[in-house]
Structure formats: structure tokens, C-alpha cells
């Protein structure tokens, strides 16, 4: 839970306004090929799928594999090691061996910058 508190401090200023972080170049982001990025200390995967851009936690909730090395199909991402699968839109865990959902992040594109921020609680 300490991690959660830190995350909140980092992504919102004192007035609770959402803080955006640049996580990728939109033009360099290829459909179906995730890249790894960070929001502060949090590893995230940035994914272009079905025309939209999604930012999710990069660490698989099963055993620490990085989902940015995984496989994107039908707006889901499959862990490269043990086949856990997550919905890119909602972060929902769809296949075992993982059993917990991923956090998703708000995304906006300004010029060539892909920006992400914590979703409002």
C-alpha cells in the first residue's frame, strides 16, 4: 500500500490535478509492438492496438515478466512467459496463471508526444 501512496503523490500535485508524463513518441509506436516506459518509478507498457494507444502496468501480475515483451492480439496482451492475458482497455486479467488485473492509465496525444497519467481514483 505504501507504493500506492507514493504513486498518488507523484502523479498528482497538491491540488489533485492530474500530472501527465511523456511515455512515447506517437510516430515511433508501431501497431501491435509494445514499448516499455516509465511513469515516475512505475514501469508501464505503451501499446498501439486497433488504432488506439493504451498504457498499462508493464509487470505481469503473475511472476514479474514484462508485458512490453509480450504479444498483442485483439486488443489484449499476452505475457511472453506464461500466457497470462490482459484486456488492454480495462486491464482485466483474462487468462491464468495471473489472477489479478493490471492498472491502466489515462492517455492523450499532444503533437508527437504520448502522455499518460494515473486514472482518477
Amino acid at each position: 500500500m505504501i507504493g500506492q501512496i507514493n504513486v498518488t503523490r507523484m502523479t498528482e500535485d497538491r491540488t489533485g490535478v492530474r500530472t501527465w508524463h511523456r511515455v512515447a513518441s506517437a510516430s515511433a509506436l508501431v501497431e501491435g509492438q509494445p514499448i516499455a516506459a516509465h511513469i515516475g518509478d512505475i514501469p508501464v507498457a505503451v501499446v498501439r492496438a486497433d488504432g488506439a494507444i493504451y498504457v498499462i502496468d508493464d509487470v505481469c501480475t503473475h511472476e514479474y515478466a514484462l508485458l512490453s515483451g509480450g504479444f498483442v492480439e485483439d486488443c489484449t496482451i499476452e505475457c511472453p512467459l506464461h500466457q497470462a492475458r490482459f484486456d488492454l482497455k480495462t486491464g482485466r486479467c483474462l487468462e491464468p496463471p495471473a489472477d489479478r488485473d493490471l492498472r491502466t492509465y489515462a492517455v492523450k496525444v499532444e503533437g508527437d508526444d504520448v502522455l499518460a497519467a494515473m486514472e482518477a481514483a
Binding site: E63, A65, L66, G69, P80, L81, H82
Partner: protein, 348 residues
């Protein structure tokens, strides 16, 4: 676990002559030879009479293989055509014949249903006999399961630790940008190490005096063909954009043939497309990679020992295993498909 309906490399071409060669492949004894007219033959290496290996026999007139024990003679289809002192030949006196073909300086054998043997499915190893390339290879006998070798070639982070005197350095493990792509019957692992020192072998072969951009593209094709496109060029000359200037470009070619569940024939070669007429370069690269591969063999055999001691001891996966895990999934699926097809066939 073996896959049967695939081509495997059984030997280098120069190993096969009119002196029969016995070799175990997928737990089956096979004898390979050439008849006097050059025809290539692969038969079950077991006389159907008293089960002596036919490879102990010799080739006699007419290209027949004569068993060492009682002199029975077999033609290239495995049919017995002579029993000394006996006129009639029982039809059961037949050794199984395997489809066999010579390509890229390798002898390819089909261990499954002969009706499915299509030479078009032999993977492309043109680097072994193309005039644009120079290649040198050999064969290693490994006391370990074949899949350990597949795993090894799909995760090259080990170069930093096992091969630090030749083809490895820290950058291979610490600074590689890795991408794993998969399709139903293929895995491609792409690795780039940008602006890092060249490893010792690359310094010797490429004369690099400054940092390099190094690439490793690992193509896995089932059951156990690994074609590695590797090389390096001075940083800043454009290699990541597809321009190779002042660099070295190579193929490391591997055909892994299971012998038994715990032993393997490891056929490999190193090919280069620079200085192709300079045998010293070819020899240097071959010797450097051979040094590295013998280091790998020591690893495989030690792994196999600990696996045999306790086959159920758990192992954990790390990110670098992604390529090898995807390859194992393909192999498991193909194995299940072969089992299902065999059941259907048995029911018919």
C-alpha cells in the same frame, strides 16, 4: 519428446561413403551409405534376421549391403535379395528404408511417414554452399536432451558469462534491445546492442577499434533449426537502419538432431559473407565459435546431470526466456498434433 514428421540432418556429406555409417536418430538405429553409383541410402541399422547392426557389414557388388554376420544381402529399399545357401527369401526379411536427400552439404533424413516426406520443406541453409558465402562446420555429440540446445540458442544473454573469451561480453546481457516475434511455426528473436564494445572474436575478425552496433537475429524453425544472422559494424555507420559499412556479417547455422532422449547430434557451421576467399578468416571464425560451443556443451551436459538427478525439481523463468518458451510451446503443439494424427490413423 520427438517430432517424427520432419527432416533432420543425419550427417555431413563427407561422412557418407561406401563404408556404412551407423547412427542413432530419434532412438532409431540408422545405417547410411552410398552405393558405387553414388546413390544415397538410409536403412534401419538392424538386420531383420538376427539384429546385428547392418553398419558392421559392407557394400558389395550391385550396391548391396551385406550383413557381417550371415552374409544376407539387402538392396537400397531394404529388401533382402540374397540368403547364402537358401533359395527362397521370406518377405519379412526387410529392413525399413528412410527417405534421404543431400542438400547444403548435409544429409537429410525423414524419420516419419515416408508418404509425407517433401524435400521442399527442408529449411534454407544456402549459406553452406553459396559462392557468396564461406562456411565451415562440424558435428558435436552432446550428452544432453536436444531441447536444452534449442533453449540455449534462443537466449543469447548467456554469451556474457559462458563465452567471455570469444563471442560474448557484458553488453549482450545488460544492454540488448530484444524483440520476440512469433508465428504458428516460427520464432524470431531480434537483439540489438548499440554503441558497445565488440567481443574478442569480433575484434579479431573485424578489426574494430571503437564501439560497435551489434545485431543478433535468431530464427527458430521446428523441430530444431536455428539460423542466426549476427554481426557488427562501427557505431554511427547506420547498421540499425540497414546499412552495413565496415562491419562483419555472419550466419551461425544449427541443425539439432535428437539421438536419444538424453543425447544429441549437434550439426553446426559458421558462415561469413566478407573475405569469402580468405580461408584464414573462415578458420578463425570456426575455431572461435567451436571454442564457444564446446563451452556450451559442458553447460548442457551439466544441466542434464542435475535434471536426471531430480527431474521434478522446479525451475523459474526470467524475461530472457521468452523466445525459448515460445519455441517450446510450438514444439509441444506439434507433438500433440502428431499424437492426435497417429490416433486417427490407428483408428482407421
Amino acid at each position: 519428446m520427438f517430432l517424427k514428421n520432419f527432416w533432420y540432418v543425419a550427417a555431413w556429406d563427407h561422412e557418407i561413403s561406401d563404408k556404412p555409417l551407423g547412427r542413432i536418430i530419434l532412438n532409431e538405429p540408422v545405417v547410411l551409405y552410398r552405393t558405387q553409383d553414388g546413390a544415397l541410402v538410409a536403412l534401419e541399422d538392424r538386420c531383420p534376421h538376427r539384429r546385428l547392426p547392418l553398419s558392421m557389414g559392407k557394400i558389395v557388388e550391385g550396391g548391396l549391403l551385406q550383413c557381417h554376420y550371415h552374409g544376407l544381402r539387402f538392396d537400397k529399399t531394404g529388401k533382402c535379395v540374397r540368403i547364402p545357401g537358401q533359395e527362397l527369401i521370406p518377405p519379412s526379411l526387410k529392413a525399413k528404408a528412410y527417405p534421404v536427400i543431400e542438400r547444403y552439404h548435409w544429409i537429410w533424413i525423414w524419420m516419419g511417414d515416408p508418404a509425407l516426406a517433401n524435400p521442399d520443406t527442408i529449411p534454407d541453409f544456402q549459406y553452406l554452399d553459396s559462392p557468396k558465402w564461406a562456411a565451415k562446420g562440424t558435428w558435436l555429440h552432446v550428452h544432453a536432451n536436444w531441447q536444452l540446445i534449442v533453449d540455449n540458442l534462443l537466449d543469447l544473454t548467456h554469451l556474457a558469462f559462458v563465452h567471455e573469451t570469444t563471442i560474448g561480453n557484458a553488453a549482450v546481457a545488460e544492454n540488448a534491445a530484444v524483440k520476440v516475434q512469433r508465428s504458428p511455426n516460427n520464432v524470431l528473436v531480434s537483439r540489438w546492442m548499440i554503441d558497445k564494445p565488440a567481443p574478442p572474436t569480433y575484434v579479431k575478425a573485424g578489426g574494430f577499434t571503437s564501439n560497435v552496433d551489434r545485431w543478433q537475429f535468431i530464427d527458430f524453425t521446428p523441430p530444431a533449426f536455428l539460423r542466426l544472422h549476427v554481426g557488427a559494424a562501427p557505431t554511427g555507420t547506420g547498421a540499425p537502419d540497414g546499412r552495413v559499412v565496415g562491419g562483419i556479417n555472419m550466419r551461425n547455422l544449427n541443425a539439432i538432431t535428437p539421438e536419444t532422449d538424453t543425447t544429441t547430434h549437434y550439426f553446426w557451421a559458421q558462415a561469413h559473407d566478407f573475405d569469402v576467399n580468405n580461408a584464414k578468416v573462415t578458420d578463425l571464425l570456426f575455431e572461435q565459435v567451436k571454442t564457444a560451443f564446446l563451452e556450451d556443451v559442458a553447460v548442457f551436459e551439466a544441466q542434464q546431470c542435475t535434471i536426471d538427478r531430480n527431474p521434478h525439481a522446479p525451475q523459474s523463468d526470467i524475461n530472457a526466456d521468452a523466445g525459448a518458451i515460445q519455441a517450446r510451446r510450438i514444439l509441444d503443439r506439434l507433438h500433440q498434433e502428431e499424437i492426435s494424427a497417429a490416433k486417427v490413423q490407428a483408428a482407421e
